[in-house]
Symmetry: C2
Subunit: 667 residues, 2 copies
């Protein structure tokens, strides 16, 4: 039974938490990104992204002028200005990372979602013009990656491990599908179809075709999206081919020439290509790559009914969630290779926990949900969303974290090179700007994670406020959802559709909740399975189901094998993890011991003009002494004085300048 995300067209957000986030992205992030893509942000490292497309497009235009055979004159030129002479770059070269094209792709995807949520003619016009520029760069073959178009098409597909062209294809396709779904405009979609067809003509199991696969995964899930929007099974087959070739021995990449050897340790573990994916049991390597692959694997398993592949997904899920997940929903214990560390190695102050990795984890979780409706997936999706993903962006939408540590001493970030990857405050933009546009596309499409649907059932995973419309047998079921999430667990669902539509509503019962109260009209019946409450019956207009999922502050401990957290507790309330910040508690957070048995109180704090809930826990603070002996002194029973620690939502930290922060607190 298909269970797929709702269309954003069928959802209207109502005022509240997520609408605010989506508006922030629409008003701040998307315009800022557009300026970034065009190198118009003063002081920021230039992106070169649109510049590369323009250069590549000029090359293509020159070819046309010289009579080179384009199969059809697909391209019109609008708003295409001549490039000014740049004295610093006398030649029109490719600049930026090899995957710079993907900045545009993530932007156009975010734009597409935003247009569905909030139509905006001017933004759509800008997007159309950008698409013209991008499409003008496409090679006559269908190939579309500016790095090779500019530097020489003779080298395409010669370094699949490192050079990201299949990755750029994947992102472009995700953006194109979304833009088509948002606007009905096919131009970018058609360009991607031509690119996909070209790739399909080059790669595959047929004799003579290339047996390579992407060094950075994403093409797998992108091809599935292209299959779903076009119905063209070749794209699903190609996705499956990439999934299945991965890690086969002899290793395909061994025959590529790599400019430098980047894979110490177990060969290709960094790229999850150390062994066939069906034989993999442990989430390893670059965390973003990993969860993008696992997402594509789950897609393919669902659409092909491949149980062996599905079992691999389930094993990798368990490995990730049971051994390698931060309590904030972050993944990636080490900055070396931006990677998973070994099981239970989850350091707090050197954490990587990349924003993009948690976004990828959400992609994966929803795809697991599409095949198996189980609250365990939605629990992780929710955790990652409310904590690491939101932490990735400042409250004003103007600066971003790439790395989301669970403990910060700013002095260490400045002076200890081992922590240089950890920034004590969010940064304006990054040379490698994967996270900001990824946040934008994630938040703009949250409703498609909050709600999925099968033929007759609407699944509410994330209790997001808004109105959802669902077609069932040609009739329209409409649910209006009010929600206190993530700050309180009161959720009311009012049926506003036609009477008698045979629709089921499946509502997730959060894993963190106990003692829920649910009121259901008598003419509806409820049953529970895998953490979801299924409501069905003869829906009447005005039927109201009300839920209360009590959110109370709770203390958590980690598995004993997480050495970093032995003797420590963390605090969460509902889906939100809390942290102690110096701004509320003074410096030297490490001197505190919280008393998890004691009652806690709750309050509020204003951060950057917004009010946030706080949790105040009882603690004791070590009386600081500076013994004459110096650095080490003979043990004496320590003196502690009564104290409190005020905790704030983790994602709101670092909005008051540089200061200490801690999620895991000594007890």
């Amino acid at each position: 039974m298909d269970n797929t995300p709702i269309s954003l067209r069928n959802f209207k957000a109502t005022d509240g938490f997520w609408k605010n986030q989506m508006e922030l992205v629409r008003k701040e992030v998307i315009p800022y990104e557009w300026d970034m893509l065009n190198d118009r942000v003063e002081g920021a490292t230039p992106s070169f992204c649109m510049r590369n497309f323009r250069i590549a497009g000029k090359l293509m235009a020159e070819k046309r002028e010289k009579g080179s055979a384009f199969e059809e004159p697909l391209y019109t030129f609008r708003g295409f200005e001549a490039l000014p002479e740049d004295p610093e770059h006398p030649e029109d070269k490719f600049y930026g990372f090899v995957f710079q094209d993907s900045d545009f792709s993530k932007w156009i995807e975010a734009v597409a979602y935003s247009l569905m949520n909030h139509p905006d003619d001017e933004l759509e016009r800008t997007a159309d013009e950008a698409i013209d520029i991008v499409c003008a760069a496409q090679h006559e073959s269908g190939y579309l990656d500016t790095y090779y178009i500019i530097n020489g098409m003779d080298k395409i597909f010669t370094n699949l491990r490192d050079y990201h062209e299949l990755y750029c294809f994947g992102h472009l396709t995700e953006g194109a599908v979304a833009y088509y779904q948002a606007t009905g405009k096919r131009k970018l979609l058609d360009a991607c179809i031509r690119f996909a067809d070209y790739i399909d003509s080059c790669f595959g199991s047929d004799e003579g075709k290339c047996k390579g696969y992407p060094g950075h995964e994403i093409a797998e899930m992108a091809l599935v999206r292209l299959y779903e929007v076009t119905g063209e099974k070749r794209y699903l087959d190609l996705a499956r081919f990439f999934v299945d070739e991965r890690g086969k021995q002899p290793y395909y990449w061994d025959n590529e020439e790599h400019p430098e050897e980047k894979t110490p340790g177990e060969r290709y573990q960094y790229n999850q290509a150390h062994r066939p994916v069906r034989d993999q049991d442990e989430a390893v390597g670059h965390a973003v790559r990993a969860v993008y692959l696992y997402s594509g694997m789950a897609d393919v398993a669902r659409l092909t009914g491949d149980e062996e592949l599905w079992n691999a997904c389930c094993r990798l899920w368990d490995s990730t969630v049971r051994e390698k997940l931060y309590i904030t929903g972050g993944i990636g214990g080490t900055h070396i290779g931006e990677a998973f560390s070994f099981p239970f190695d989850l350091p707090n102050d050197t954490a990587y926990a990349e924003t993009c990795a948690s976004i990828g984890l959400i992609f994966w979780a929803r795809r697991m949900l599409e095949k198996e409706v189980h609250a365990k997936y939605a629990d992780v999706m929710e955790l990652a969303l409310y904590n690491t993903v939101l932490s990735g962006m400042n409250l004003d939408g103007k600066s971003f974290f790439y790395v989301n540590p669970l403990e910060v001493l700013p002095e260490a970030c400045h002076k200890d090179e081992r922590k240089f990857h950890v920034k004590p405050v969010r940064q304006k933009w990054f040379g490698c700007a994967c996270c900001p546009p990824n946040i934008a596309r994630m938040i703009s499409s949250v409703p498609a994670y909050a709600y999925t649907e099968s033929e007759d059932t609407l699944f509410m995973h994330l209790h997001m406020a808004g109105t959802v419309t669902k077609q069932v047998n040609g009739s329209e079921a409409v649910f209006a959802v009010e929600s206190g999430f993530p700050w309180n667990g009161k959720v009311t669902v009012t049926y506003e559709g036609e009477a008698g539509v045979p629709v089921k509503l499946a509502v997730r019962i959060p894993g963190w909740c106990s003692g829920r109260k649910i009121q259901v009209p008598e003419h509806l019946s409820g049953s529970e399975a895998n953490g979801y409450l299924y409501l069905e019956g003869t829906w009447q207009k005005g039927d109201t189901v009300s839920f209360e999922f009590p959110m109370i502050p709770r203390f958590f401990q980690a598995d004993d094998r997480v050495r970093e957290n032995i003797g420590k507790v963390a605090v969460a309330k509902g889906p939100v993890v809390y942290c102690a910040e110096e701004a509320d508690n003074g410096a030297n957070l490490h001197l505190h011991r919280v008393l998890p048995g004691e009652p806690v109180s709750e309050g509020t704090v204003t951060i950057a003009g917004q009010t946030f809930p706080t949790i105040v826990v009882k603690a004791e603070k070590k009386v600081q002494k500076t013994p004459a002996e110096g650095l080490y002194h003979e043990y004496q029973p320590e003196e502690y004085e009564a104290a409190e620690l005020t905790l704030i939502p983790y994602y709101a930290w670092a909005n008051r300048g540089e200061n200490e922060m801690m999620v895991w607190l000594r007890k």
Copy 2:
């Protein structure tokens, strides 16, 4: 008043702790190193050290044959075999690190000390032959660094920051002085004098001379040794010049061409050349470099009476000891740059704490003692010696630690690249083999750290067992010392010299000791100053002074600002720090909490055939649970069961295979 190390000739070790260590070095380390220097150890990375000298020597010989003007025919050739053709190295190039020459220098220094402790004709013959090879490589100018002799003399002194020729000069000179003192043979000493004279002709404050200084310090203290053995003041002046030029602006090194930029962060902090040494307050940068510099500074300050320079030494000492010293006497909190981290940043499991850095710390401490007799210096010397230095070598003398961590989980060392510098067991040899030969020269010369003397006073810093002879006004005072150090604090000093020699004996009262008992013959008087007990009077043959410095197991805590150790204790007894090892306690050491208020017991354990004392502390161990919730579970009061932890001397760890180890224990 001069207070300088005793000559090893005036000391005869008696059976016991240090004699055993010295014998181990003599029998195992020195021969093994000689094989290493000659690339005769199967499976080890070749050193190329003696090979480089031979190649350089052949070049010099060719020059002679062609009539190039050597000022005098200084060199004889003994045991100089033709190099076999090496098919892998068709040309005679320089191989190894730019500082590879120094491997010989440290070896010859260890040999010199060993010969003084234990004459050995065969070893001396080998050493003489090695010296012949080395001296044959000397350039007619006096210059003697094989890297440039082989690669081209036109480039000498053009990259002082990185290319170590003044460092190699320093080590060679230290070795040459020691060998001269041991054997009276001048050949290597004279070669070094010529090299020093050549350097002196190139560097200095006179107009036209180079104003550079070494990138890796050691020449400063080596020049002082050369001054002390020759009486030639120019060498002291040159040492002072190097000390004073360091860090002056504009920076000398800015005008050198460096093959790659290696100094991120504050410029030249890595080399302690970010500002003039007299203005430095904080121990920073590469830890070995730092303490070698500070040693040279202390030498110059003492010999020139330069109080400003001395004050800088004192500030840097305080910075090191009060903010940057591991409880094991290790220094260097970060492997990045093998460097000091910021104050109080002393991570246990990623510690660098290089063996060589603690050796350098001992050099420095003794030089501070030479100017100011204060037990605080000897306390640190003792701590570093019994813990980090001894930890650097396996109990069988056949393998070595470069890095001396305070906490090890072997899995992390294998799987976490951030800990790849931490080895869970000692290694046979290193490509950069600075530590093993440094251990050899350190241990072979321990008596010169244990005892120093001024005109009328013998200082006993380390309570080392043996017989010390001291000349006072032409008479001979002889003290026979029996000692239980480091395992018990019973020390007996029996006077065995001529009666009535006006000698004072100054005995350090260890900083770790309280409740000492001292018995002194009635005709001697005692007074205490700066942690030393001064005994004087009319010594009679057979006079016995007995000391008991109670060694009891003690629990230590770190300064609150050492975040890593908050809530933890370490255990020491006398000068020896103890640790918990998996071999005695099972895995998961982190689950234990020690109870520092409870009584402890003591026992013994056999490791690699040797018996070691143990300290058994009361503890409790968390009952391990694997909650169904997975990685995180709601807090429940933990269950602990009574347990014990058996602790062994830190330096003896990792002699029973790979296993967990911890110095700092939760309480």
